[in-house]
């Protein structure tokens, strides 16, 4: 350990920032905590009533659940896309232009972004030309598929048969492959099992179906993904397996197109199975640029020689990424992920502008805004704000542990 400077000087360095933060953020937080214990017009002390309201009323609970969904999907997507794209863009000649494309949505004011996504998600009754790109595209593809459904059916069927036959040949030829073939049988069973277990749990507990459904979908997705990855990995090692994969992909494509043949325009922001995803997509579109720029700056600090060395050692590109690159910028990834979790925790404008919390899309910051500034219930608004503050504590504790580790190592 080298000698640290006297603490008086250090206060001079951090002092101005702390002073401003104390005035502009800490003081309002204290006021908020105080207000959260008061009634709607802040005239009477009500104890924990506002918190009891928040945790026993349907609408704030729904907002909490949606926030959880946002954090899981939003953080994974923004940080994941940002990281992968930072690495990919690092290797092409037009890096600057590619990064600008991803960054561009950040530079658009949210008012502009709202208009943009109006053009994406717009819905018109079936039979009237669609103005929204998403519905127009899917309708057009669906119309084409409907017109060619016989051809699609034949191609799909042939591809499916080829896939099945080559799959069976590969099964016989490659022994190690047996294991993953087994996996392909076990995983669907596991998925079914999870669904069955969930309905059983639901029958005896008071968990609302939608909470459980979310969990089940997440688990099932993970399982399905694992099955597909292990399957493809094994198949890649055999020519017949490779043919089988191509066949399966073609068959799936035909099936998908046939499914679209009966496509009806979707009200993306009102339909309760799509709207939360549609909102998160807008957020991801905007904020991936942030993650990309910060992570990209961190990547520039990684010495190219180390990467080259591990390549020479025979690591493939994926291994270099996962085993060398990611650990080297892990602190920055943590910082970006923390920032994103917190930002998403207080997500407001996307929801407020596009659905304002209707159709089960409410989030805490939106609920807070309505309570405090539309209904003038400052007590409830403040309580929701305090819940937001409390929700970051685990994230912060994780960060603190991380600092301690860093400290210990340097």
């Amino acid at each position: 350990m080298f000698q640290r400077r006297r603490s008086l000087t250090s206060w001079l360095w951090v002092g101005p920032a702390l002073l401003i933060l104390a005035g502009y953020l800490v003081y309002p937080v204290i006021v908020t905590v105080y207000e959260s214990l008061m009634n709607s017009s802040l005239s009477r002390f009500v104890g924990l009533d506002n918190y009891i309201w928040a945790f026993t009323t349907e609408s704030p609970l729904l907002a909490l659940r949606n926030n959880l969904f946002w954090i899981i999907v939003g953080t994974t997507a923004t940080v994941g896309f940002g990281l992968v794209f930072a690495v990919l863009a690092d290797r092409v000649r037009f890096e600057s232009a590619a990064k600008a494309a991803i960054f561009m949505p950040m530079a658009i004011s949210f008012v502009g972004a709202g208009v943009i996504w109006k053009f994406m998600y717009d819905w018109q009754p079936p039979g009237i030309p669609q103005i929204g790109l998403l519905n127009a595209m899917l309708s057009t593809i669906g119309g084409w598929a409907a017109a060619n459904h016989v051809v699609l059916l034949w191609i799909g069927a042939i591809a499916g048969v080829v896939a099945l036959v080559t799959f069976l040949i590969a099964l016989v030829r490659v022994r190690t492959f047996l294991l993953s073939a087994l996996a392909i049988i076990i995983f669907p069973l596991a998925i079914l099992g999870v669904g069955w277990l969930a309905s059983a749990v639901q029958a005896v507990s008071e968990i609302t179906p939608s909470d459980l459904a979310l969990l089940v979908v997440v688990i099932q997705l993970v399982l399905a993904l694992a099955a597909v990855v292990s399957f493809i990995y094994a198949m890649m090692h055999d020519t017949w397996g490779q043919i089988s994969i191509v066949g399966a992909v073609i068959a799936a494509l035909c099936l998908g197109l046939l499914y679209l043949a009966s496509f009806q325009p979707v009200t993306w922001l009102q339909n309760e199975t799509t709207n939360n995803w549609a909102l998160v997509a807008v957020y991801v579109w905007i904020w991936t640029g942030f993650c990309l720029v910060v992570l990209s700056a961190a990547l520039k600090g990684v010495d190219a020689e180390i990467l080259e060395a591990s390549r020479v050692d025979g690591a493939n590109e994926f291994q270099v990424f996962a085993q060398v690159l990611v650990p080297m910028i892990s602190t920055t990834i943590l910082v970006v992920a923390t920032t994103m979790i917190i930002n998403i925790l207080k997500v407001f404008d996307v929801v407020y502008v596009m659905t304002s919390g209707n159709f089960n899309t409410d989030v805490i910051a939106n609920a807070l805004y309505f309570q405090a500034f539309h209904f003038e219930d400052f007590g409830r608004g403040a309580a929701l704000a305090v819940i937001l503050l409390a929700a970051v504590v685990p994230v912060m504790l994780f960060n603190i542990r991380r600092f301690r580790e860093e400290e210990g190592m340097r």
């Binding site: 990919l88 650990p327 892990s330």
Partner: protein, 314 residues
């Protein structure tokens, strides 16, 4: 996991490194056939990057095309239909925005708000980040974690208490009031990101500088700041565009008074109370996006690899 992999800072070398993969190839010349194979292998990568970029640009492209369409057409047909003849593009939306009452004043006000609103938090934030990263004082980690935790405070919750404060201090409706507010709202992120970056600088640099008798101020301005240009640049971009695009803070602390209101306020006055002429926002979005993009591109050069190593040398 070994120490060397978790500590990128240990690997910073004092020699300038060639930046691009392409440049690396030239160090190890290959046969033409091998080069061809390499290019072919690169092709999927290029295609993926281009495809993702285009996908990301698609919604914005829709906005761009729409901004040149007549207002009536926007709500009648998809924007892509404008891309096939007969073309019918007009400048109405742009003319309406550019000739709007107070747009020039709004632009100047936006600059007056944004420039200090960007420099101040980064300056103050980098001082604090340096203190948190390389100095020792009691309660440092806890104070830092509280600073980061303040990121979660929704701006809306601070408006009323701060406005009350501003009224007694006569800061309402003044630029310094808005600068300070933006500084405060930008500080937690600035401190967090910069501390992380400063922390990753090699310890040896500080030790040798201190042994040479450098003061903290000298270390900060001569070593830390030059080495952190990529981090400072990215932070500058974000802070700039957040302040530039801000409507809420300006509306509350400045009150929307035309003499001090930024462009965002002027733009919001272009839409009527029913929002039925929202089409004008298509053009407004592009006009207000120009400056942040200029800032982004002009700071791009600081993201290049090798800059870090190069500045240590010398």
């Amino acid at each position: 996991m070994s120490d060397s992999t978790t500590h990128p800072q240990m690997k910073v070398r004092p020699e300038a490194r060639p930046a691009q993969p392409a440049a690396r190839e030239e160090e190890h010349p290959r046969l033409d056939a091998a080069r061809l194979v390499h290019v072919l292998l690169q092709a999927p990568l290029n295609i993926i990057v281009v495809a993702v970029s285009l996908l990301w640009l698609l919604p914005t492209a829709g906005l761009l095309v729409s901004s040149f369409r007549p207002a009536q057409a926007i709500s009648q047909s998809g924007w892509w239909t404008a891309l096939v003849p007969p073309y019918h593009f007009v400048l109405d939306n742009y003319i309406q925005v550019l000739t709007a009452n107070g747009m020039g004043q709004g632009f100047i006000n936006s600059l007056i708000i944004t420039i200090p609103g960007t420099i101040l938090p980064i300056l103050i934030g980098s001082f604090a980040a340096y203190g948190f990263a390389w100095m020792n004082f009691p309660g440092r980690d806890w104070i830092f974690i509280v600073v980061v935790g303040l990121l979660v405070v929704p701006i809306q919750m601070t408006l009323i208490p701060i406005l009350q404060l501003y009224n007694t201090l006569h800061l309402t409706g003044t630029f310094p009031g808005v600068w300070l507010a933006h500084t405060a709202y930008g500080l937690p992120l600035a401190v967090y990101l910069l501390r992380n970056f400063f922390q990753s600088l090699p310890k040896d640099l500080f030790e040798s500088a201190r042994l040479d008798g450098a003061t903290e101020r000298q270390i900060f301005f001569r070593i830390v700041i030059p080495l952190s240009v990529p981090a400072l640049a990215s932070l500058t971009i974000f802070q700039f565009l957040w302040v530039w695009n801000d409507l809420l803070v300006a509306l509350i602390y400045l009150g929307g008074d035309p003499r001090v209101a930024p462009m965002t306020v002027t733009v919001s006055n272009l839409v009527n109370s029913y929002g039925s002429n929202y089409q004008v926002l298509t053009a407004a979005a592009f006009i207000s996006m120009l400056l942040p993009l200029v800032v982004f591109f002009s700071l791009q050069q600081y993201f290049a690899r090798g800059l870090l190593a190069g500045s240590i040398k010398g």
